[in-house]
């Protein structure tokens, strides 16, 4: 009987959902009528981080805040704003973290230098290797 009551109570329980009841922002899920503008917006939205669900881009996220960010991106692009200006506007407010497209800065240069360094290192090692095998002659 107790278990039955428990089961009934669980059936009746309504979860507390921390989610708003407002419909999504007008341009959260609606594309811009101009395909060229929509393409620009889409490219930008794919490289902006959702702040609620931090491993997703705002283009991927169904969080209401991501929807509001998409609305903002689309309406600004429709108003003729440059995508990079919008990215900069967000970086001013949330720091570099909000952008998935790293820029060259004192703190990020190793990110860009590392591949070049590795390539140079590989070239050096290969050169040594080739020289060595030509020196030992018959085995190459």
């Amino acid at each position: 009987m107790r278990y039955l009551m428990l089961a009934l109570a669980l059936l009746l329980a309504t979860p507390v959902v921390a989610q708003d009841m407002l419909p999504p922002a007008p341009y959260a899920y609606k594309q811009l009528p101009d395909p060229a503008q929509e393409a620009k917006a889409q490219a930008l939205m794919e490289t902006l981080r959702c702040l609620k669900c931090q491993s997703q881009a705002i283009s991927d996220s169904d969080a209401p805040m991501a929807g509001d960010m998409r609305h903002q991106v689309r309406t600004r692009i429709a108003a003729g704003e440059d995508p990079e200006a919008i990215r900069q506007w967000l970086i001013e407010r949330y720091g570099d973290y909000v952008s998935y497209a790293p820029q060259v800065k004192p703190i990020t240069w190793p990110l860009f230098a590392a591949p070049l360094l590795f390539l140079a290192l590989a070239a050096l090692l290969l050169r040594k290797r080739f020289r060595r095998s030509t020196n030992s002659g018959d085995r190459a």
Partner: protein
């Protein structure tokens, strides 16, 4: 590099494996420690506003409640105020309401921004949790939230008498946070 089936080393000058032999194990150990560290002490995932120290961007929000006016930037002149970003659908926002009430009782002026909220829900929320707000703006598209670099609810900003954002508190205000907020308000007022 050297073929184990090859009895004669092709390069007699090659050093014997010494420390290099331990390198993979060492790398593995370092990686292991890194992973354990990440598990034991997860990184802080709060996104701080980069807008602290900058003036509040201009905005003008309609009222979110029938008995409080809406909120616009002109209010933030004179003495420091708190700007509380909240929502009726946000559970920690209800948790912090006693602390907001205590701050209001000490004479702190608090303005609210209700994120993606309906008037009925705001009214119910205020009836349940008390209303510490002087003004409440309705931000249906999270515009003000995005404009000040807030990434969730609740968040509380200290705004000085010139309308400059001086401090950001992320998450609900717990009783132990109240003194810090009062201190930040005093600093903003000096």
């Amino acid at each position: 590099m050297s073929d184990p089936r090859d009895p004669a080393p092709k390069n007699p000058g090659t050093k014997k494996p010494g420390l290099a032999m331990w390198l993979p194990l060492g790398l593995f150990a370092a990686f292991f420690v890194l992973v354990i560290w990440g598990l034991v002490r997860p990184a802080n995932r709060e996104v701080e506003s980069a807008f602290i120290g900058k003036p509040l961007p201009a905005f003008d929000l309609p009222p979110a409640s029938d008995d409080r006016p809406g909120l616009n930037t002109t209010v933030f002149s004179g003495k420091p105020r708190l700007l509380n970003v909240f929502a009726s659908w946000c559970v920690p926002c209800a948790v912090e309401s006693p602390q907001l009430a205590a701050l209001a009782q000490q004479g702190v002026e608090i303005d609210g921004v209700a994120i993606r909220d309906r008037k009925d829900d705001v009214a119910r929320f205020l009836a349940q949790n008390g209303n510490p707000f002087a003004r409440i703006g309705k931000d249906d598209l999270s515009k003000v939230q995005l404009a000040i670099g807030s990434s969730g609810v609740p968040e509380t900003f200290v705004i000085d008498g010139k309308g400059v954002i001086r401090y950001q508190h992320i998450g609900d205000i717990r009783p132990e946070d109240v003194p810090l907020i009062l201190r930040k308000l005093a600093e903003a007022g000096s």
